[in-house]
């Protein structure tokens, strides 16, 4: 059998429809599963005025079931038997007595009758409606006298529930299910009786309602593209806007409108934003890719005049909005021409960035200093004066009229205004780009001045919030500090910036916390790139490394190395040596350099010195010689940041180490020999630690 459920309501917000359809589907599938009712494919979708679902091949009834529960012995005390009867809901006569090796035991066989599909669905529908979770729901109507009254996203107005051609009777929120629905508000306003689940889509299509959101989207996208092409223009594709318009219409009819080309003096981003966000219009481009003075809106009906009045109305609305935008833009133009972008700066003192971190003017001051320092210290190859200037102007547009009205174009407006008054192009770009990257897929700035301001802005925010003890906790990150840190990492990597973070953070608990925070963010970021987190730990554990670009280069070389045969074997040899040393050090402190805590790394590299007078058996001498040969090479390679070469130098130790373990017993009965061999192993361990803390490497 085929089951149809349609939940009608007043207009459902477009953004909620897809998730609601999914939820409806999941809830029905779960309910049928719980009731043991077999079914085939289940499809769910939505229009603005209805959520609907069709389940194919629904079984006529669920299978009956029998459950067997073992109880107490027949001879058990009355109380125990009483308890078992209560638990199973049966009477003493209904229990079966069975012979078992332990005597006669009572068994309860609980049978459940199969239920018809109609009965199961009649019970499931009210449950689904009552349990349904909307992002925001409301009460309505006379029933709302009680604050515990029914809730739905907007008033629920009707329910169609049909199993093949028969109504599944049920009632919820004061609404009884039936077969009546509504077609399009204008084209088919009368009640429409649905014959059966199989005819639902066709009957509604005849009533000017396309129940498939995919179909509506397809019509919007293809028709809009046709209209654009017909006008010699190209549609600027926008899948989000297609979906939104499909969620606002039951019978979408795209229409082409135009606006006065004079408005093109307003920045393109502002025009597109106004059209998209405020009006849900598609923007169009001309052959050269420039914004065209035209748009496409999507109406929800086939108007009697072919849409002329609708186009006319939409053109007037857009024209009003664009004159408003132009009013703000021209106000800003007049202001910068008179006073420059600097003219906006005093107003930043009125805007609180955060109560503990001062006003935006305070922040700008700090960011300007930091941007200059980043350049002067050599970390960012930009002119310090330009970077400082860009940082000073970076937030100026926040108090411009245009950004006050359209906050989404922050930075973009700053850039336009800067160009108008002939500001350096690098400075202008930095005003726009210093917010980037905003998300994982956003562009990462690489132009030096932009990099300086973007880094300074983000680092200032991070240091400020950490210093005031407001780091992100768990799922709470109200100031988006994780995103800021990720932004810093992306910029450092993309622009290959060598920034010793410790010089910036200083010492102390807050600085340590920040370093750990960056290490965590780096692991999260690199996990997606396939870099092993244990290898990042192995390099971080060396301590002292605060240049994340260098750290990452080392990690990547390490990963390449440990995945080779040499690397795997060296790791095995290392672990064996480390275990022996650990056991020996537990017995009595030995005069070897211990862990790696104090090992400064990076440019210096902290490798053991060659042994002055090698002695011992052949394999010992071979290892000692190999160490003496490999160490200077590894050390030099690390100093030059040739990490692959450092790994290769270590790889040369693999054979001698294997030979050592095959050739000699470390724990020789003679304490002097044992000590000598342990010392050799310790040198080997320390040599490896000069590259990375192999004890952190898994496997």
């Amino acid at each position: 059998m085929k089951f149809l459920l349609e939940l009608q309501s007043e207009e459902i917000p477009a953004r909620m429809q897809a998730a609601a359809a999914d939820q409806l589907r999941t809830r029905l599938v779960d309910a049928l599963k719980a009731a043991g009712l077999a079914h085939g494919a289940v499809t769910a979708d939505a229009t603005p005025r209805r959520l609907w679902l069709i389940a194919d091949d629904v079984a006529t009834a669920s299978q009956g079931s029998a459950e067997e529960v073992k109880g107490p012995a027949a001879t058990a005390p009355a109380q125990a038997i009483e308890g078992f009867l209560k638990k199973t809901g049966l009477s003493r006569e209904q229990l079966e007595e069975r012979e078992t090796p332990k005597g006669v035991v009572l068994f309860a066989v609980i049978r459940r009758e199969g239920q018809t599909a109609a009965a199961i669905l009649a019970e499931a529908i009210p449950q689904i409606v009552r349990d349904f979770a909307w992002p925001k729901s409301m009460r309505w109507g006379a029933a709302s006298q009680s604050t515990a009254s029914s809730r739905w996203v907007r008033p629920l107005t009707g329910i169609v529930a049909l199993l093949d051609g028969d109504v599944v009777p049920s009632s919820v929120h004061g609404i009884a299910s039936g077969r009546d629905t509504r077609g399009h508000r204008i084209h088919a306003p009368s009640p429409l009786a649905i014959t059966s689940a199989a005819t639902y889509a066709d009957q509604l299509r005849a009533a000017h309602v396309l129940i498939s959101s995919a179909k509506r989207q397809q019509i919007i996208a293809s028709r809009a593209a046709e209209l654009a092409a017909g006008a010699g223009l190209a549609l600027i594709p926008d899948a989000g806007l297609v979906a939104e318009n499909a969620g606002l219409t039951e019978w979408p009819v795209p229409l082409l409108g135009r606006f006065d080309p004079d408005f093109l003096s307003v920045p393109r981003e502002v025009i597109v934003l106004t059209m998209r966000t405020n009006q849900k219009y598609f923007a169009l481009a001309d052959g050269a890719g420039a914004l065209a003075p035209a748009f496409i809106c999507v109406a929800n009906l086939e108007a009697t005049d072919g849409g002329a009045a609708i186009v006319n109305g939409n053109q007037r609305v857009l024209s009003a909005r664009l004159s408003d935008a132009r009013f703000f833009w021209e106000q800003d133009l007049t202001a910068v021409k008179a006073n420059g972008l600097d003219g906006f700066l005093p107003k930043l003192s009125d805007i609180v960035f955060h109560e503990k971190l001062g006003t935006l003017a305070d922040k700008v001051e700090r960011v300007a200093d930091l941007a200059r320092w980043l350049c002067e210290s050599g970390a960012v190859p930009a002119d310090p004066a330009l970077a400082e200037k860009a940082a000073r102007l970076a937030k100026a547009d926040l108090v411009s009229a245009t950004v006050s009205e359209f906050p989404e174009v922050q930075g973009i407006i700053g850039r336009y205004l800067a160009l108008v008054i002939g500001e350096d192009a690098a400075v202008a770009d930095a005003l726009r780009d210093h917010y980037k990257p905003v998300g994982q897929s956003d562009d990462v700035p690489t132009a030096p001045v932009s990099v300086a301001v973007a880094l300074a802005d983000k680092l200032d925010t991070l240091v400020g919030f950490f210093r005031e003890n407001m780091p992100p906790t768990g799922s709470k990150d109200p100031f988006a500090l994780r995103r800021q840190a990720l932004g810093v990492l992306s910029i450092l990597q993309a622009a290959d910036i060598r920034l010793p973070l410790r010089r910036l953070f200083g010492e102390g608990a807050t600085a340590d916390q920040l370093m750990d925070f960056f290490a965590d963010r780096l692991k999260v970021q690199q996990r997606e790139a396939g870099v092993r987190h244990d290898l990042i730990d192995a390099v971080f554990a060396l301590g002292g490394e605060d240049d994340l670009v260098r750290l990452l280069a080392r990690v990547k070389a390490l990963q390449a190395f440990v995945e080779t045969e040499d690397g795997t074997n060296l790791l095995a040899g290392y672990k064996r040596a480390a275990n022996i040393l650990k056991a020996a050090e537990k017995d009595s402190p030995l005069p070897f350099r211990g862990g790696v805590g104090g090992g400064a790394v990076g440019a210096g590299g902290d490798f053991p010195t060659p042994s002055p007078s090698p002695e011992g058996e052949g394999s010992e001498l071979a290892l000692a010689a190999a160490l003496d040969a490999a160490l200077p090479q590894a050390k030099a390679a690390v100093a030059d940041e040739r990490f692959a070469d450092a790994m290769a130098a270590l790889a040369a130790l693999r054979g001698p180490v294997d030979g050592f373990f095959e050739g000699v017993m470390v724990n020789d009965p003679d304490p002097a020999i044992r000590a000598r061999r342990l010392a050799l192993l310790a040198r080997f361990r320390d040599a490896v630690h000069g590259v990375a803390d192999f004890s952190r490497i898994e496997g």
């Binding site: 207009e11 409301m138 009460r139 109507g141 508000r185 929800n300 005049d305 609708i310 109305g313």
Partner: protein
């Protein structure tokens, strides 16, 4: 148009009221909506309300923005079945041909921080222009609405521009004898923009804010929520003026909104106690 709306909603059981005689930011502030939406009584009313938004003044230079304009407000408690259908009927009544125009309900959840109120609903678009706000009140002054009221607000100037097909508010015909909206209101917009942005004496306004706040609390505690509510409305408008004068910083802004909300809440607490 106003007559058509009054006739329509009057025939659907609304009492036809007159504007509240104080400066308010929107028709919602009228006690016939704010206070009457609380409590169990049934209540259906409609009225025109002049509304003042000092910050929206443009010295009469912007064709779409005014610091003083008119709203037509309908409040129906409890919200009747098929309120959307009723609303669409009112558009027919003012002559919008829905077979030629595209009417759309676009999600717009309403929230008034100064009234401590929120509701769910839509902005209603006619050919892409917002012509009404449509809200199912869920909470007012921190109290759950029981029952829920449906509120409809029509922007009268916008609707008139639409119906008359003019590009500027000031070109609207006020009558058939050639009097335009500009003839009636342009000077008002120019002078009040200057007052709101430049001339209002802020020191005195701060003092007024204090005075009306104290009066509001005093009246509320004497069990007089209606007069107390008028004082809260005054506080709200004074705050709007101070805000337009740019003398309230971003941080202070929240604090002032909170103060007005507390006043409204104090009044509503007394009101709810009296009407339950």
């Amino acid at each position: 148009m106003i007559l058509a709306l009054q006739g329509y909603w009057g025939s659907h059981g609304c009492v036809i009221l007159q504007p509240h005689d104080l400066e308010v930011g929107a028709g919602t502030f009228h006690p016939a909506t704010t206070l009457r939406s609380l409590g169990p009584d049934h209540w259906n009313a409609c009225y025109v309300q002049p509304s003042r938004r000092p910050s929206d003044g443009r010295y009469g230079e912007n064709p779409n923005r005014l610091q003083h304009y008119y709203q037509f407000q309908v409040i129906l408690k409890p919200s009747p079945p098929d309120l959307i259908g009723l609303y669409l009927g009112s558009l027919d009544a003012i002559g919008i041909d829905r077979a030629r125009h595209d009417i759309r309900f676009v999600e717009d959840d309403w929230e008034s921080p100064t009234l401590g109120a929120w509701g769910l609903g839509w902005e209603v678009w006619c050919d892409g222009m917002e012509v009404s706000q449509f809200t199912y009140f869920q909470q007012v002054a921190g109290h759950d609405c029981a029952p829920v009221a449906g509120e409809l607000t029509y922007g009268l100037e916008r609707l008139a521009m639409y119906i008359q097909g003019v590009e500027s508010i000031y070109d609207l015909a006020y009558n058939d004898a050639g009097v335009t909206y500009g003839d009636v209101f342009l000077k008002n917009e120019q002078q009040f923009s200057a007052y709101n942005f430049e001339a209002a004496n802020t020191e005195r306004l701060f003092q007024h804010f204090k005075d009306v706040s104290e009066e509001c609390r005093a009246l509320a505690s004497r069990g007089l929520p209606l007069p107390a509510y008028d004082q809260a409305i005054k506080a709200s408008h004074i705050f709007n003026l101070l805000n337009a004068r740019g003398v309230i910083s971003v941080a202070e802004r929240q604090a002032y909104i909170g103060r007005v909300r507390d006043l409204v809440k104090a009044v509503a607490d007394v009101w709810v106690e009296q009407v339950k």
